[in-house]
Symmetry: C2
Subunit: 637 residues, 2 copies
């Protein structure tokens, strides 16, 4: 672990190379480090005191100018050194040029050093357990933000926090979330809580205020002032998180009242700030945040997207976790679904609902305003007095014992969300005198699990009509950015610089925004000229649909009855079975599946600091694909 190494964040290829020798993980410098030391016991010729003896030994290994120790550690030192036969492990943390000893343990425990990357979202809280010695991600766990009891969005929570004694319960809620996530990760991985020595958190300013128990009241009152955008490192004991009491907790610095460390971390993760190419990052959380720029300049804005993309506020919405419908294909004879974990369906998550709306639109089941076509006879459409809905899974087949449906209100919610994001992005880009066409790259981030169908996102007008190969889905970039900061001191500094450098554009005072927002409240957009690719698809489907119509309503009716019955058999898994009797077709399907897996794995890969395990998994997939291709070749011979 060499200090002072320059780290490049922009080149995953380079990282891949560096990972070829796993022993030389020299490019990272985690938030906290454990070093095993064998001290020479004192004698009459070497009477250095315990602490100075420890400092001397550390300085034999590393060139450290300023060393410091916490009082608690110093108090424990004399007994600990003598009881451990002068063999100990110290945990070090660097801050503002001082290296502090935050923990001393007997014996060699240097391999047991873990950290937590934390994405504190308004709707969802995600924690990742990382081995700080190797960089390996050991597990991820996610949960609903318990603060939801006090309000679904940031504003209602601030209002609650500013009532008498309102702040502590909101603070307690998120602390409970974090404790619970950590407990789960610790239990699953057979480590102890005290082995967790550092946390990097990213979240929007209100979430971080509530986490640190900072008064957030001024955030929602003109002129919208947070207590701080830069957060002093705190200790686990300061926040009542039951890991190593002296563990360091870093909150990623934010930019403004409504653009926080989540977007700073996202930019870090995307690498926008390290490239001369002009890129945009769309982070589709409850607050949609958009950042634009390159290694020279960065601007950002924020738009309230609502919780729809995280499955919130929808009749059968859910997070991207086991049981969530993540992919939807509507075919003439029914609906094909892919469910996370391959279990029975429990609801629909962000990627699923984007797929669904795109399919409903392309199949002419809903109109561009998001209303069900009055004359739609699709067997899954249930026309009701209050509102129409689309039945994805019937009560008998669902895990919940209830129909899994998608209502007109749900569609309206998603359209509002996508309109907010797109119009904000458009206004921001035009604010700097550019248009979507001038962009080199687009990164889409959000809590969609490992999957987001970019073409479908374009179809519904969530994304602009942009060449899909220039668009990359990078998953939860707030979380991956926090992990990068956890693993690299240099990245941590970089994140502070990003936050400092970024200029915030306030959309609420921009008259263009409301116009753009209203124009975007259609599928894909009021101005269809902006979506030529969607226009093409739509007209193709139109023709197909007309052909179907010619066959007459009776046929449609019969088909739809069959479809409703076969809902449970129409999962992605069943797609495979349909072609199981043709070995060549089967191989082709397997290859397609592997390719999809590979694409997912690559998309889920953080831009930098990917773990060796992730790279190995990708290599294995690539090997399998070429193997299967060979088999297929042989078979066709």
């Amino acid at each position: 672990l060499t200090t002072g190494t320059t780290v490049s964040y922009s080149s995953p290829e380079k990282m891949e190379k560096e990972f070829t020798d796993q022993r030389e993980v020299s490019y990272y410098h985690p938030l906290t480090r454990k070093i095993f030391l064998k001290l020479p016991p004192p004698d009459l010729n070497d009477t250095l005191p315990d602490l100075e003896r420890l400092y001397r030994e550390i300085r034999k290994k590393e060139e450290i100018k300023t060393l410091d120790i916490s009082l608690d550690c110093l108090r424990s030192l004399p007994n600990l050194l003598r009881q451990s036969n002068w063999e100990i492990t110290v945990t070090l943390w660097e801050h503002n040029g001082t290296t502090e000893i935050i923990h001393v343990e007997p014996g060699n425990t240097s391999i047991n050093n873990y950290g937590i990357a934390l994405d504190v979202g308004t709707t969802t809280v995600v924690a990742e357990l990382v081995n700080l010695g190797t960089g390996e991600v050991l597990g991820v766990s996610a949960t609903h933000n318990k603060q939801i009891h006090y309000g679904e969005d940031v504003i209602t929570r601030i209002i609650f926090a500013c009532t008498k004694d309102g702040l502590p319960p909101l603070n307690n809620a998120i602390i409970e979330n974090i404790k619970q996530l950590i407990k789960q990760l610790v239990d699953e991985n057979g480590i102890t809580k005290e082995q967790i020595t550092g946390i990097v958190a990213a979240g929007n300013p209100t979430m971080i205020h509530l986490l640190l128990r900072l008064n957030p009241c001024s955030i929602r009152l003109e002129p919208y002032i947070p207590a701080s955008n830069t957060y002093t490192p705190v200790r686990a004991s300061d926040l009542g998180i039951d890991i190593l009491p002296q563990a360091v907790i870093i909150c990623t610095h934010g930019v403004s009242s409504y653009v926080g460390g989540d977007i700073t971390a996202g930019i870090l993760s995307s690498g926008i700030n390290n490239s001369s190419q002009i890129s945009v990052l769309l982070d589709l959380g409850t607050n949609g945040e958009i950042a634009l720029g390159n290694n020279d300049w960065l601007v950002c804005c924020s738009a309230s997207a609502g919780p729809a993309f995280e499955g919130g506020g929808l009749k059968c919405g859910m997070r991207a976790t086991t049981g969530a419908i993540q992919k939807v294909i509507i075919e003439d004879d029914g609906v094909k679904l892919s469910i996370i974990g391959g279990t029975k369906a429990r609801g629909i998550c962000g990627s699923g609902l984007i797929d669904l709306i795109a399919e409903l639109f392309l199949n002419n089941i809903i109109d561009p305003t998001g209303k069900f076509q009055k004359d739609s006879v699709n067997p899954h459409v249930r026309h009701r007095e209050e509102e129409s809905e689309f039945v994805l899974v019937s009560a008998q087949e669902s895990d919940t014992g209830k129909d899994i449906v998608f209502t007109e209100t749900d569609i309206a919610n998603v359209i509002k969300s996508k309109a907010a994001v797109l119009s904000a992005a458009k206004v921001l880009i035009e604010s700097v005198g550019m248009s979507f066409q001038d962009l080199d790259r687009m990164f889409v981030a959000g809590g969609f699990g490992n999957y987001l169908n970019i073409e479908r996102a374009i179809t519904i007008g969530l994304l602009p009509d942009f060449p899909p190969e220039k668009i990359q889905f990078i998953g939860n970039s707030s979380l991956s950015g926090a992990r990068i900061e956890l693993l690299s001191r240099h990245a941590l500094e970089e994140a502070s610089l990003i936050a400092k450098k970024m200029t915030y554009f306030e959309l609420s005072v921009n008259p263009q925004f409301m116009d753009e927002f209203i124009a975007a409240m259609f599928l894909p957009h009021t101005n269809l000229d902006l979506y030529p690719s969607v226009q093409r698809k739509s007209s193709e489907n139109e023709k197909a649909s007309e052909n179907v119509k010619k066959d007459g309503a009776t046929i449609k009716k019969a088909k739809s009855d069959t479809a409703l019955k076969s809902l449970n058999t129409s999962t992605a898994q069943n797609i495979k079975q349909e072609s199981a009797d043709n070995p060549s077709q089967e191989l082709e399907n397997e290859i397609e599946e592997l390719k999809a897996k590979l694409a997912d794995s690559k998309a889920a890969l953080p831009m930098h600091d990917a773990s060796p395990q992730q790279w190995i998994a990708i290599e294995e997939l690539e090997d399998k694909i070429s193997e299967k291709k060979k088999e297929l070749k042989n078979l066709k011979k």
Copy 2:
């Protein structure tokens, strides 16, 4: 308050000059500083968050690279700024290149910033209240170390601390001492405890271990290893001291197991380390510590002197406080005493007992071994079966209602103490190939109040026979050093360098030490050739004494009876009254008195960073003396 100013510590003349304009107190940089700030309130054109707004305002006043804030301060900031109409006072502390905001208060409280200089002695604990804004010393209070219940010396306290649950009561005892001293200073000066924002403590390594609740056990076991000689700054709340919870507590760095921050502070105070002249510092505490060197090199050693110089372990010993006999003159017809505070006598303190033994010896009342002459008919000598004693004040005249006596055992104790100090100094000086004659200066420090008669200290052989003009009594140099550190960041750094630079000589392994110690167990010394000045005085007194003897025992008897009766009238004050009827004589007396006061004031003056008030007092004294001299001149005309 400019940062980066270079401070010279070696030239009091220069300091005096700098004090001519009291407004420009730019040469000091106290441990903590309060700055009043008027922040511009935020508006839509200036949306900087609260903390960054605060940082910006501080940086308008000072060039500070790295600013930090405690979580508690940040939590209080939003409400405080708005409730105080954006007018606040921040308390700043610099450490390892970072300036931390440790406290934020509404309004302008910048004039209320106080610190405590603390001398944590084995026998006596002394606290000084200092105005950190002006450098003024507002008060001093002292008390017996409550740890005395657990043992009189360092070793017995370590043994107690290392029994089961032994450390907390010793720690609590000193914390109680400190809290009590601070309460007294706060009450006397009409300030609040929360206005105390910093403490610098100096003490021997065991005292500092017990203060910080560090395990001291290895200090007394070969190879004698403390937990640390460098102490990390802690907060008042860490130690349970009830001042500003975030107040900074610095313990002056020590040198070895038995030479601590008290001697580091003493060297700082004496200025030895800033002069090319070779000087020695004798610190006469319970542990006698000796330091030797110049701006190039420093060596030190330690010798157990016992508590006698602080009035401990003696039948009627007491600290140098109100009621203590601090000066003693034995004349034919009685004893003249000077009592601190001008009250009735309560006991005898260090400077008094040095005077007393010298007088007893010069008047041939005790012999060179410290035993009362069997034939002594001095009316104050009471020959008893168990042991002889010298009655200083009779029960009727004392404040305690008991005779104030000085016993043969007391004399033996003092002789042991003085022998330890002198022999240690001799061995240390000879260890570096020098002798007393090679020294340019000698500083004597100790808890003697403001007075120590250097000639008498030579007479009893506590000090070597050295030209008195080269010897300076500098009072409690541990305390004044701590004050200097409290007032100057540069001095604080200097103290760390002194501790680092100093080489410790272990006397217990030096065979010469015991020989020298035994040789020094006489008054003034076994080898009288080392004390030519004492030999001279002694022979003069011998002659006088013989003359008295010629007058016969009857006269002696009569005189001594009178003397015993007049004990209460024989204070220093009465010396003045005797000559009150002669105006010229009266003026001369007044001048002498003023000169003595002046000498005392100068001796009590810390070498550096003296307060403006002290310099003014000295100037006033000098003015008065020249005035009186003029009067006398006129009178004689």
